[in-house]
């Protein structure tokens, strides 16, 4: 409950901040729509030249675009702004004040900045998923929707945990302020089903920087392609990665000694 209250406070603060830049928000939404147009056009170009891509039709690819946009929203609305603030606070020592506050420091560091207008992206993403699934004509059962939600959540947790590990590395290597670029770089791989990639690229986006765990795999669950054991394993990976990330964060925090000492 405590953290919910905090999130509410952060949201209020961030809404106030973004209201100061209303025109920018409008421009950003227009640009966002332009990119959506481009993404749909590129799918259209692909499917005017082929019936399926890695066994998936255009409906499934639109749904995948929706799931991809969920992860992308996480990246832009949460990961980038907070990382920027975090890197700054390591350099100038203002991290001291974050640690002194009576709340979980990992929580504070990762949720204090939220790009609020990006929430409309979430709605757009859900619309894309629904339209895509409808177009594909796949028959979706209730358990499939449940496993989709479960694995989408655990995929997001995997990405979140990886982010924690990447920024926690800054405690050891202060100059490592490029910490999330690698995540952003490979994110684009989530637009298409991982099954079309050559093996080495598939290994990278599934195991090393697991973008596909948050994009391709939940959608496979929605289509009923995953067995019970697979669903269980991916869910456990989500939990395990969160536990590992919290431990790395704690260990890193012990290394922190302020900017002047």
């Amino acid at each position: 409950m405590h953290s919910l209250k905090l999130i509410y406070a952060f949201l209020k603060m961030n809404i106030q901040m973004s209201l100061a830049y209303r025109a920018d928000t409008v421009v950003n939404i227009l640009l966002n729509l332009m990119w959506l147009g481009w993404e749909l056009l590129s799918l259209n170009i692909i499917f005017s030249n082929t019936q399926t891509l890695g066994g998936w039709g255009i409906g499934e690819l639109i749904a995948l675009l929706g799931v991809f946009r969920l992860v992308n929203t996480l990246m832009i609305a949460l990961i980038w702004p907070n990382t920027e603030k975090f890197n700054q606070s390591i350099r100038d020592g203002s991290m001291d004040y974050t640690i002194l506050q009576p709340a979980n420091s990992m929580f504070l560091v990762t949720f204090s900045r939220i790009t609020v207008w990006r929430f409309w992206d979430l709605i757009l993403a859900i619309i894309l998923i629904v339209i895509g699934i409808n177009m594909s004509g796949d028959l979706i059962t209730a358990p499939q929707i449940l496993t989709f939600l479960l694995l989408a959540l655990s995929g997001i947790i995997v990405i979140y945990s990886l982010w924690i590990v990447l920024i926690a590395l800054t405690f050891w290597f202060t100059k490592f302020d490029n910490n999330v670029t690698i995540l952003q770089a490979l994110l684009d791989a989530g637009r298409y089903p991982a099954t079309v990639y050559p093996v080495w690229l598939r290994v990278i986006v599934t195991f090393i920087i697991p973008i596909a765990v948050a994009t391709t795999i939940p959608l496979q669950a929605l289509r009923g392609e995953l067995g019970f054991m697979q669903v269980l394993i991916f869910f456990l990976i989500g939990i395990a990665s969160f536990v590992i990330a919290s431990q790395v964060w704690k260990a890193g925090l012990k290394r922190y000694s302020g900017a002047s000492s």
Binding site: V27, M34, I46, N178
Partner: protein, 265 residues
């Protein structure tokens, strides 16, 4: 003049060298989407035999050459110069007797480019062994012809980006404008897919725009897919767009500097 450029080179090279880790990250960031497009299109071509006459090897060679052309013809002036207009640090450069955009920023961009080339070379060789392209259609004449074409295309892109950057004299939203410009490049340059696979109307418009000169045209030159009239036409278009871009940039820059009043003035 030569001495000035030599000194500018030393300063900017040292500056870029300092950020080599950042540079490597930039390179990685920029490499991923062409490789993904390559993977997507080769998988389609392999599944269907070919895509409108494009075989899997055609796609592999196209994107492998694209990696080089894009590196040569793209620029980062919006990121290295835009903030100077906004925070007023341009003032110091304006009182120097040389054009800030056409000397310092340009040399800085070239230093950046050459350093990323060093990073790209080993990665390109690894990709070569991973994808094993068949480059038998490439001729020496094609490569030699493509070099001036790419340098001129870089200048076109640089002048256009510089003109957009100079809009910062009037508005703080230059980054949004540049994002829109970037989308035009994506649409009309052949970055996503070889232009003949784009919808007909986009192909028709792309013919007259400068963006295909940055990627599609030099790639086709290198791959030896163009006839002599097509090569000449490309060079003529390059010349025309270079003049237009130069005129636009000069006009925007002059107006902008007059409008400029630094922070604190």
């Amino acid at each position: 003049m030569f001495l000035i450029f030599k000194r500018l080179w030393q300063v900017n090279w040292a500056e870029q060298w300092q950020y080599r880790a950042n540079l490597l990250m930039y390179l990685l960031y920029w490499l991923v989407s062409p490789i993904i497009y390559l993977a997507v299109w080769t998988s389609i071509a392999t599944a269907n035999g070919d895509v409108n006459g494009f075989t899997a090897n055609d796609f592999i060679t196209y994107y492998m050459v694209l990696l080089i052309c894009d590196q040569v013809t793209s620029n980062i002036v919006i990121h290295t110069f835009g903030y100077k207009i906004q925070d007023g640090s341009l003032s110091g450069e304006l009182i120097r007797p040389i054009h800030p955009m056409l000397t310092n920023a340009l040399v800085n961009n070239i230093a950046f480019k050459i350093l990323t080339m060093f990073g790209l070379t080993p990665i390109w060789i690894i990709l070569f062994f991973l994808f094993q392209p068949d480059f038998s259609s490439v001729t020496l004449t094609g490569i030699l012809l493509s070099i001036p074409a790419m340098i001129l295309a870089f200048l076109i892109g640089y002048l256009q980006s510089a003109a957009i950057t100079a809009l910062a004299f009037w508005t703080t939203r230059v980054y949004s404008i540049h994002e829109f410009y970037f989308a035009l490049i994506l649409l009309f340059s052949g970055q996503f897919v070889p232009l003949p696979l784009m919808p007909q109307v986009i192909q028709d418009i792309a013919q007259y725009l400068p963006f295909q000169l940055m990627l599609y045209y030099p790639i086709q030159l290198i791959l030896g897919n163009l006839t002599t009239p097509q090569i000449i036409q490309g060079y003529v278009m390059t010349g025309v767009w270079l003049v237009i871009s130069w005129l636009i940039f000069n006009w925007v820059w002059r107006k902008g500097v007059k409008k400029y009043s630094a922070v604190g003035a």
